[in-house]
Amino acid sequence: MTGPLERLGRWVLDRLTALGRANLFLLRLVGALAFLVRRPGLLVRQLYAVGVLSLPIILVSGLFVGMVLGLQGYANLVDFGATSSLGTVVALSLIRELGPVLTALLYAGRAGSALTAEIGLMKATEQLASMQMMAVDPFARVLAPRFLAGFIAVPLLTAIFTAVGILGGYWVAVVQLGVDGGAFWAQMQARVLLWEDIGNGVAVKSVVFALLANWIALFEGYEAHPTSEGVSLATTQTVVATSLAVLGGDFLLTALMFGAW
């Protein structure tokens, strides 16, 4: 019979051990990236799988989010006669927050969960073990191309999500609601800063989220129990852990980049 304190202690120790394993996993993953210099074809194939195939959901979601921002922004700004600021509101919301965060969350749901399930099933069906027995390192041959492809894809998808979102906002605000198109773009051009907003938001945040999303997805798959239940649990865990890490990370990054302290 274990007491609650002992169970808590065990839980904390298990989490710390898992964190240590995850860090070692990342180190080994980064070490295996050099293999891709000799086999760039593996990277291209994975870029297609995690990047190109994620485009439809990113494009459609970006468009809808931008349209909603246009509608909501207009509904609030029109009372103050400030609809000319709508371009700035839509652009800053997408560039600083919604673009990187929503892209990472959508990526975790579409590509991250698929990565976990794929790696978990490869483990459960002994494909990774057979690769090792054929003297082929699964870290180099299987995991590194997926990791690098995801790391490249997420920032690009974020940029696409943001751009499409701005176009969606423009369509609602200018084409549908009659906001002045010149003011929409001019305000945006005047208020959105290249490094502070686009650099911090789209670039830095998306790179951090790309690292988190792909690291978690591959680690969960690699550590999954080799059973159908284990793979299912790992896939769920990927989406939950990535979502929490992205949202928590976003708060920290926002506080550092744009916060008052």
């Binding site: 494909q127 027995m133 003297a135 082929v136």
Partner: protein, 281 residues
């Protein structure tokens, strides 16, 4: 001093000892899997390691292949101490070993052809034309040349095992490890596989290690048998010797008798006690 008639890089002759295991101990958590196990595997022969399910036969293969490290003892393959090898040396050794997994472990995103070509493409700089020839030769050996365009999901269990066998011998290894090659096979597939293992072993001067609990099929092709139970080798010898063994354990296992020293039931409290318990344990 006379010079050797063979070139320095000639293949080793099919004689002598390829694998030496001494004092092997291995445990998983609290459970002891092996306790002071000794065994030898001769070159060019088919050696079978048999025993009931759960005795650690697959674990032994993983120890031989360096996928697991023993707690104590010596594992030597072709003069190399496997647990002491670095990753590079271990991978070099594995290029000379093939392993047939129980599930086949084919790559589900690659066709039959590409599965067999996989080790050749990873470890050689051969032209695609030569790789094609080699893959067709290996597939012909297992009778599946005509199935090269199929995907693993389109194969029966027996066919998948044969493709995996073709892949395992793609690099012409010195040794092939077979993990339960006959499990779940229909009689025809089982007959074909049995014949294939023996034929390939003799034709290619391989060393075959079969882990199995299919007594009849394994004894039919093995040159030497080791029987594992409770973490130890309980008997070893040729199939004929073991068939005549006086040991009640060997007699029970080799002749599939329901009664004997080995219990069918997993250790449990007395049946009556359990049934009379008011609350489930």
């Amino acid at each position: 001093m006379l010079s050797s008639p063979l070139p320095a890089d000639a293949a080793p002759p099919c004689s002598g000892r390829l694998v030496t295991v001494r004092g092997l101990s291995f445990r998983r958590g609290e459970r002891v899997i092996f306790r002071d196990v000794d065994l030898d595997i001769p070159r060019g022969k088919v050696t079978a390691i048999m025993g009931p399910s759960g005795t650690g036969k697959t674990t032994l293969l993983r120890l031989l292949g360096g996928q697991l490290r023993p707690d104590a003892g010596l594992i030597e393959v072709d003069g190399l101490r496997v647990p002491e090898l670095g990753r590079r040396e271990l991978y070099q050794l594995r290029q000379r070993m093939g392993m047939l997994f129980q599930s086949g472990a084919l790559f589900t995103d690659l066709s039959v052809f590409d599965n067999v070509a996989f080790p050749l493409r990873e470890h050689t700089r051969l032209s695609e034309k030569l790789i094609r020839t080699l893959v067709l030769m290996k597939l012909e050996a297992v009778g599946l040349r005509g199935a090269r365009a199929l995907m693993p999901a389109e194969l029966s269990g027996g066919m998948a095992r044969r493709v995996a066998l073709a892949r395992a011998i793609a690099l012409d290894p010195m040794m092939v490890l077979y993990d339960e090659p006959f499990a779940g096979q229909d009689p025809i597939s089982m007959g074909v596989l049995t014949q294939l293992i023996r034929t390939l072993n003799d034709a290619l001067c391989l060393t075959s290690v079969i882990v199995s609990h299919d007594v009849k099929e394994t004894a039919a092709i093995a040159d030497y048998l080791y029987l594992l139970s409770d973490g130890q080798i309980v008997e070893h010898g040729t199939p004929g010797e073991l068939g005549r063994s006086a040991s009640p354990w060997v007699d029970q296992f080799m002749h599939a008798r329901p009664d004997g020293p080995m219990s069918f039931h997993y250790p449990a409290p007395p049946y009556e006690t359990e049934l009379l318990l008011r609350e489930p344990a």
